[in-house]
């Protein structure tokens, strides 16, 4: 069972619909027991960072604990940003600190938010992109981005006037700045790959 963390922010349902569509056993929940028993966790997020962090509340510690126990965790969009240490969106807020780096505004020379379909260069070594080739369009919608500063993390980039981190992988911690659940067939394949990784944990 994959648990999508329900913490009262927008768009959690789309993630569940996408997992259901690809035939996954998925549940939207914020119950500690279900989170602990999950085969993998998905931290979605359509919200401002500070709001998301405070809405997550004490569940944050539990997610960290489960992730550090080795179960796959996938952060999406603001959920991806929350994997990092800090964000400066509407004031300074602490994230989960699972991956080193900070969330900062997209430089104002670019159109902000970065919204729409952008091409991601996918390193072969990243599990989420298995079987997808080297470059595909994914759907992005965000105004802040994660500056990754973690030597243990593999990073996939997209070009937005600069190399913008589109996805990270650090051991069992995964994240996508783009929305796989809104990126058509290509995005569904990313979720399938994550579901496959969850099966590997055998819970």
């Amino acid at each position: 069972m994959i648990v999508v963390i329900d913490y009262n922010v927008g768009n959690v349902k789309s993630v569940c619909n996408a997992f259901q569509h690809i035939g996954c056993d998925v549940k939207l929940s914020c119950e500690p027991k279900e989170i602990e028993d999950a085969a993998g966790l998905v931290l979605p997020g359509v919200a401002a960072f500070g709001y998301a962090v405070s809405a997550l509340g004490t569940t944050a510690e539990l997610i960290k604990k489960v992730a550090l126990s080795g179960k796959p965790l996938l952060g999406i969009c603001v959920g991806f940003q929350m994997l990092f240490e800090k964000s400066s969106e509407y004031g300074e807020h602490n994230g989960l600190g699972l991956v080193s780096g900070n969330v900062i505004p997209i430089p104002s020379e670019q159109t902000v938010p970065h919204m729409g379909w952008n091409q991601v260069k996918m390193p072969e070594a990243m599990n989420l992109f298995a079987g997808l080739g080297s470059e595909k369009h994914f759907y992005f919608a965000h105004s802040f981005y994660a500056e990754v500063n973690d030597s243990e993390a593999k990073v996939a980039f997209t070009d937005y006037g600069f190399d913008l981190p589109a996805s990270v992988q650090k051991a069992n911690i995964y994240g996508t700045q783009f929305h796989p659940e809104k990126s058509g067939q290509v995005g569904l394949k990313v979720l399938k790959n994550f579901a496959q990784l969850c099966k590997g944990t055998n819970s």
């Binding site: 922010v9 789309s14 401002a48 729409g116 937005y160």
Partner: protein
């Protein structure tokens, strides 16, 4: 590089997709869930659903509709029409919408844009502007509210810039003069707005031929083009549109 977005718009009334001319004389265009799923399979980059009835009774209907759409559509979609509160926005996002568009309520209470942006992020908040060339001052475009039925004294270009300052992540700019005419987008107002803001602008109203899309993007500076009649009634596929634009050097997600 970001692909230029092609966005079919589904105006929904009494659970049917409809399309008119200058916001009037509505014609039936099909079932919203079926049409949405078809467009997303056909290669749409996004969809926009506008509840043009936007009454208290239609609110429940639109939520049920959005839930059905979300089960079948794996591309982003925006929902608009009659949204007045942050709670309503929350409900729509929880039903599966990626973004919401606000129009009349934002004019009446501009703070709604800021509240929504703070809670859900700027990228969730689309400021929809329905505008027409002012009868008194032909260099000005006036903002109209209540599905275009009520003109205001607000200048569309200034309102777009103000919307950006308030926290809107995107402008959906509809020319009422061009709407449904299939005679081309209003390039003048599109250009004026794209030059006045740094957030993405979706050009809307008037698409009838493939070159109209190109004009809105290149001459108008639009980041995305929205269309209804051209896809509902003219049988251009989204793939045809994208191949045409790609052939003329526009980056698209083919």
């Amino acid at each position: 590089m970001l692909a230029t977005r092609i966005i079919p718009c589904l105006d929904v009334k009494d659970n049917r997709v409809v399309k008119g001319v200058h916001f009037l004389n509505l014609r039936d265009a099909g079932d919203p869930v079926e049409l949405g799923a078809r467009y997303s399979e056909d290669g749409a980059d996004e969809l926009v659903f506008l509840d043009i009835t936007a009454t208290i009774r239609s609110r429940k209907t639109i939520i049920e509709l959005i839930e059905k759409v979300a089960e079948n559509v794996f591309i982003p979609f925006t929902v608009g029409g009659g949204i007045q509160t942050v709670e309503q926005i929350d409900e729509l996002l929880r039903s599966g919408a990626e973004k919401v568009s606000v129009n009349t309520a934002a004019v009446q209470n501009p703070n709604l844009i800021t509240e929504a942006a703070k809670r859900f992020g700027n990228q969730c908040v689309v400021l929809a502007i329905d505008t027409r060339r002012s009868k008194e001052h032909s260099n000005n475009w006036q903002v109209c509210v209540k599905a275009g039925s009520e003109p205001t004294d607000i200048d569309a270009v200034e309102w777009a810039a103000e919307g950006e300052r308030l926290g809107a992540g995107e402008i959906l700019l509809t020319s009422m003069d061009a709407d449904g005419t299939k005679a081309g987008y209003d390039i003048e107002i599109t250009k004026a707005v794209t030059e006045a803001v740094n957030i993405p602008v979706i050009a809307s109203g008037g698409a009838g031929k493939l070159e109209h899309l190109y004009e809105a993007i290149v001459d108008g500076g639009a980041d995305a083009v929205l269309m209804a009649s051209i896809t509902h009634f003219e049988n251009y596929t989204l793939n045809q549109m994208k191949e045409y634009l790609a052939g003329r050097g526009i980056p698209v997600n083919l």
